[in-house]
Symmetry: D3
């Protein structure tokens, strides 16, 4: 049965680990954990060159109704990222500079929302980063119940409250809370490996050789011609 | 019957009022006038951090044909915004730097178009702001009749010639000409109210308390759990 | 029959001509060559204010598989633009900073891809320009054969290896290799003509007069009213 | 200001005229009245070979909330078509077989909705025709106010309560109430003209000759070659 | 870490319960279980008037690669529904009449797929029902690993192997296996309640009265006018 | 340079071969010729259970302008399929029952169009099959030049006049004229092979065994578990 719940307390991953996952970036983390957790290309940043990670506080709302976002604010703390989902597609501007002011007062790092936001110029100048599907000045109501800190699905990925959200110019990746330390380890390994690779490629070596693809291509029936 | 008309003279709202509606911004004005007039999330600016208002000079064109935009130029004056709509969806780049040069020479403030524009780098460097559905270098013809300064529908909102167009990073809002002064009054009231609210939220007060949502949530069957 | 081919050598247009087509820009070139060659509004730059041209090295890949991009690198040289197409729609981030490093080491000028890219912040800071349909951190596999330097179709336009790709803020235009010199000639003529037109329009002359549209409008049944 | 209104009484066009507009069909009526009134290709029938017209009873709802549809039922009578619009895009199944039962009991002829419907198999077997943007079994709430029998915008066309809605396999066309008799006259004339044309074309005459396009094509620079 | 698994054995709900959920239909079941489990309006049937339920056998594939569908066949049995998802959006025709022949030989009831299918005329004449996002004759490869009978996300809903899939003209609803009996109970109750309601509405009673909405509308500020 | 041409005479493939390619169906032909020629999932039939092939007579039009379709009629003969493309996306209903009457009088088999059509109920009852992107009653003008029987690009595939168009419930496939006989040969071989396969699968054999995928899956790292 579908109860509406607001859960006050959630577990979070280690703050240090979260911060370093943020620095690693979504492409690295997504690769490092086995190419899972990416929420898809339709959630885009409203700013450039911002790279963060934080603990998910989740919201499930009715389209065009932001009452539960208001309810979620007090569940947010230092280092969190608010993740807002809807029970159906929505283009509403469900979030603006007032809610951002409130979240910044609590140390929240950003917003990920599968609907729309407004006051985007203000949000950028306040330094509050947002990943969203739409920008829209259309206002919302406060009439229909929903939930806070329940599992939600964001662009084809399950987000549990307390999961680590990584977000940057390439999109949003979700790391399960229990996997955070391992994910960082894998990411660090990948970063080290990529640094070596970058040097070799910059020096003119070819991926087709490094990855041994030449023979594979021929085995697959590809013909080299002049 | 569907006549093609070019109307030379239109009524405009008070210039002072228009300018101050521009400063208020679309989200504020849209809220202030009762959440109407927003043309939807698919008309996006090609620039950032521009916030204007002006009087609508309207165009109704055939897709991929910009003859009526040329006809509209001389109907535009100081403080106007050109609003171009099409009889069917279009991705054409119907407007570029030459038309912008012509409009700037007449004091026009910007363009809102439900098709596409081109020369976007030039438009940005000229300081001519545009809200559009597409960017496309595809050129247009000049063959099919249309109208200037007739009522048009832009993204689900009726625009009468002389209505006030507000446009910024959050999109485009239409204020009926007769409502302009009242809309400004409402916007000013809202801005004042929001300033107070912003201070309270920044100080840590919660929207859920300020708006009295706690009891409402419980009345709607939402359960707080730990 | 559909063979998978990797063609090593391609013909290129004159380097001088290519460079000057890049400076002319897509809108000018597209107009100059008779309004053909534009690949449509869904391939967008990840950067602003970059304007390039180069010789197409083409790739045809399976969705979500970038093995052929790796194979294409060694076919690329100074002044080329890599053009990646897929056998079906794809949102994958098929290209990132490592491949860009490799291409920059060879003097490649940029990428046009009808799928997605990742590491976009890095690509911008490296100065490697990209035109793409999606930004996505989702990784790819290297399993399915494809081709390099075969004719491909990009957004409704045929691209032959060695064709000139012009790309800027307005999108991407393809000029057939054999037409490059003629296209430049036409573009130069158009630029000269537009400069004159720009001055006249800036001085307040009207397009409706310059293009002789007043009578045409009336002949088409358009009525001027007050 | 945006008041929520439910208007009890509306004017309707002549019943005879409405019925005959229904028989004429949308393509004919749309042409006859000067190519206006078509609501666009995104409202599609859930059934085939149904061709109706009726008087619009209009609804403006919040996305995912069908309270106002319930409120509208008693404003509907013999020969009406319910026209449901939303303040923002919605995919919800806002209407199903129970509401159809209620409307059929009042002699309503069909539904046009810019969101979604459900129970589509039942609606077809009940013989209640629907034009909709989506089919979706997702249920709605009854929390947010809206209006009945106010002017609404449906797919870029204004619908006044009492306007004539024509709907068939080709979509939906709106005829202003005051124009209904004239629209029928024009439609009848067109039908007569098309019958003659159909015979001529069936006999092998060519449109290019009948419409005198041969010379026009040549004047426009088209060359006939072998 | 992202392992590729093919799980041979899954638990299924009671066959009797499943069959009766199929008869109840998606709109009823979705409502009965609290408005959850609906996979969205983008998965549509290729046939009309088919209403089924079955146990989910799940597949997770690479776009344009149907090797795992082949691997899944032997995991399917009497009364199952094959649920195919992809790691990224795909339009490929990943399934056709041969795979349907194979599944029908095992008693499988239908297919739900978030990509495309082909041989649709044959599938309809064979009586093998399909819910899909696209119809496409484009063929697939068999190169990239994936999984069978792992949890997948279909249109924003988690599907565990063995969950009950209900599918009809209104779309697809997922019922968690453990909830199947309860869902049927709730559905039966709802069907009974709706039968009464249908009679009352058919007799001319109004939903606005039955649901007590008149007062609610007025309390929400809606005004009745004449 | 972009000239507007109407070419009177085109070469066609052998009529017998064309007819038999029509019977083979798009999925078979597409597979048989190496998975090329498919125009994508966005061109859909307005009817069910029709399976045809014919010689392409091609049209390139301006959006919302059907003058060139009229010009193309006299270039069509027995067994042809009219292929209409546009210089930019269009939703217009560019074709209806009068043009179909004219084409049927000449023995034309059907229409493929990347815009919209109207009079769809009539077209179905006349037995004139259509594959289209949109259904729309919106009328067109006859003002802008275009071409007949030039190479066009349809959904990412080049169509030369006289190429064989195969169309059925799964979409549209283009076979180059010179490949028609070979394509039929390949299709016949495939049909024979599929008949054998169908029998084996119906008898309960598994594709995973027939195609030898079990070992391949394990080699790719897929694990079978219980």
């Amino acid at each position: 049965m579908n109860r509406h719940l607001i859960k006050r307390h959630i577990e979070r991953a280690d703050a240090q680990v979260i911060n370093r996952l943020g620095e690693a970036g979504t492409a690295t983390v997504h690769e490092a954990i086995g190419r899972v957790g990416y929420v898809g290309p339709f959630l885009r940043p409203i700013q450039q060159d911002t790279k963060i990670a934080g603990s998910a506080v989740t919201v499930l709302s009715h389209p065009g109704d932001n009452m539960l976002i208001h309810a979620a604010v007090e569940m947010c703390g230092e280092g969190d990222i608010l993740v807002v989902t809807n029970t159906a597609p929505s283009t509403h501007g469900m979030f603006g500079d007032l809610l951002a002011t409130s979240l910044m007062a609590r140390g929240v790092r950003g917003l990920v929302i599968d609907a729309g936001v407004r006051d985007t110029a203000d949000l950028r100048s306040m330094g509050f980063p947002v990943w969203t599907q739409h920008v829209s000045c259309q206002g919302t109501v406060k009439n229909t119940p929903g939930s806070v800190n329940v599992p939600v699905i964001l662009g084809g990925v399950t987000v549990q409250p307390g999961d680590v959200i990584c977000a940057d110019d390439d999109g949003v990746v979700v790391v399960e809370r229990a996997d955070a330390a391992w994910a960082l380890e894998q990411s660090d390994a990948r970063i080290a490996k990529e640094a070596v690779m970058r040097d070799r490629l910059a020096a003119g070596e070819l991926g087709v050789d490094i990855y041994g693809l030449r023979q594979k291509l021929i085995d697959l029936g590809v013909e080299y011609i002049d």
